[in-house]
């Protein structure tokens, strides 16, 4: 029976493990030997960069850092590039975490991957980390009304009033830009409803690739820019001239997807070949 199988049948029924193995190999090669393939910068990224770049000196940036440790690979390029851009400029940065993971990631990434001191930034004067609070939409609303109603201390327990940077920062009115980082696609509505609509706070967002579809409709009317996925993180690295882990990822993505594309073509050749009985002698 198996001897009668045509090439078309075989092409459509290749053991999936070949696809898996080839994908693995094609992903590993560019990680080992980066190709440096070019990257196209999209409008969302340019808007995101400009929103930071055009801030006047001394502006206050709030970063709602809802990143997750399990999704580090997708988000790392985005937030490392963002932090570098923020610390390169004369800005005051206020981090807070609506996810428990966010605090852990700030602990492991801030000060190790991006070192504020190397940009001449001092904790308490140029940046503050408020830590974790289970905010959700209601919490974001409370932050807009009164930051001290949600946080009385920073993540180390220092009262906010003892931190020089926090002296005049009380509510959304004192925030010049909100950077909203999140992983649950529908959360995009939180900053829209709680910051943009009531306070008209300029807002940019950074999220996963799969959340891009839900975020894109808000750009550019309600949000000034957005990053979705590590791909746009890479774009920010390139456009903002802040190299990071994204470039190697883009290379690996380019090559890693090729086996799937070939298998997709094989599958359809198989379907068409079988359907029109290509190469089968008529009885």
């Amino acid at each position: 029976m198996s001897n009668n199988k045509t090439i078309w049948h075989k092409l459509g029924n290749i053991d999936y493990r070949w696809l898996y193995a080839l994908s693995l190999i094609c992903t590993i090669i560019p990680i080992l030997y980066p190709l440096g393939l070019p990257v196209q910068v999209s409008g969302g990224t340019i808007g995101y960069f400009d929103a930071i770049d055009k801030l006047p000196a001394g502006s206050v940036v709030a970063v709602s850092f809802g990143a997750s440790a399990q999704l580090l690979d997708e988000q790392e390029a985005q937030f490392l590039a963002t932090w570098k851009l923020l610390f390169q400029r004369d800005l005051k940065v206020l981090f807070y975490n609506p996810l428990q993971d966010g605090t852990l990631m700030l602990q492991t990434e801030l000060g190790k991957q991006v070192i504020p001191a190397s940009y001449g930034k001092v904790y308490g004067e140029d940046y503050v980390v408020l830590g974790y609070a289970p905010l959700g939409e209601a919490g974001e609303a409370s932050m807009g009304i009164n930051i001290r109603g949600v946080y009385t201390t920073d993540w180390k327990g220092t009262p906010l009033n003892d931190l020089p940077m926090m002296k005049d920062i009380n509510s959304a009115k004192d925030i010049d830009l909100l950077i909203f980082v999140y992983t649950s696609c529908t959360d995009v509505e939180f900053p829209i409803r709680q910051w943009v609509t009531p306070y008209k706070t300029p807002t940019i967002i950074a999220t996963l690739g799969c959340c891009g579809p839900m975020a894109a409709p808000y750009y550019p009317t309600q949000i000034q820019g957005f990053l979705s996925g590590s791909g746009m993180g890479t774009e920010l690295e390139v456009y903002g001239r802040v190299p990071g882990p994204g470039a190697a990822m883009s290379d690996a993505k380019n090559i890693g997807v090729l086996p799937f594309l070939f298998f997709f073509i094989f599958g359809n050749l198989s379907y068409i070949g079988n359907r029109y009985k290509w190469g089968v002698k008529k009885q």
Binding site: I14, L19, G209, A216, N254, G267, N268
Partner: protein, 213 residues
């Protein structure tokens, strides 16, 4: 115990709790908002207090597996979860800060987060193989599925963005126009169905809650 306490009272309780929450949404009356806050706090405590149930069921299944196959290897498999369970639990109990302690975070980041991230990686393979099997231009519907899938995939790959730049607006169009239309319709339909179940529950007629077993 009477039928009332066994069956009717719990259903009345569910209805009452639900109606109060709905009322708190429509009416900005402070006592209602306070009740809503109290109930929200209570349900966190109720659900948190039930966690050990999972451990009981995990153990029942593990013992059964070993009884079915009493080999050394199976014994190792059976013991393994408890070794790691103990590692996590002890580091939370004995180190200051509990789950925030560096010792707990060591277990958490090297095992929990790391395996979680790897599971996402595995899904690349399963999505690819399922598409190899199903992305065949066999009908208009299948072609629509492929169009929505492949064009937006290529739009996200840097190489295609650079060498076939037309893929970017085309991919965006698929995403923002037909995807939005279809997705919106599906969301509305599912939301209405969820509401109907909700109203039935508050009505005290949800059959699932009447099952005793």
């Amino acid at each position: 115990m009477s039928y009332f306490f066994k069956k009717q009272l719990p259903i009345i309780l569910a209805s009452l709790a639900g109606v109060l929450m709905v009322a708190a949404y429509f009416l900005p009356w402070q006592p209602l908002q306070d009740i809503k806050g109290l109930m929200t706090n209570w349900i966190v405590v109720i659900s948190a207090a039930t966690v050990a149930m999972g451990f009981v069921y995990m153990t029942t299944a593990q013992i059964k597996m070993y009884q079915k196959n009493k080999t050394t290897l199976q014994l190792i498999y059976t013991i393994t979860p408890y070794v790691f369970f103990t590692g996590f639990a002890l580091s939370a109990v004995f180190y200051p800060g509990g789950s925030q302690s560096p010792e707990y975070q060591w277990w958490f980041s090297n095992i929990y987060s790391n395996v979680g991230a790897t599971i996402y990686a595995i899904m690349y393979f399963t999505l690819a193989s399922s598409a190899y099997r199903t992305f065949r231009v066999s009908s208009i519907e299948a072609t629509a599925l492929i169009a929505g899938g492949m064009i937006y995939t290529l739009r996200q790959i840097p190489l295609f963005q650079v060498y076939t730049p037309w893929i970017v607006p085309l991919g965006e169009w698929f995403l923002l126009v037909p995807n939005t239309g279809g997705g919106r319709g599906a969301v509305i339909a599912a939301a209405l169905a969820a509401l109907v179940v909700g109203i039935r529950t508050l009505w005290g007629k949800e059959a699932t809650l009447e099952v005793q077993g």
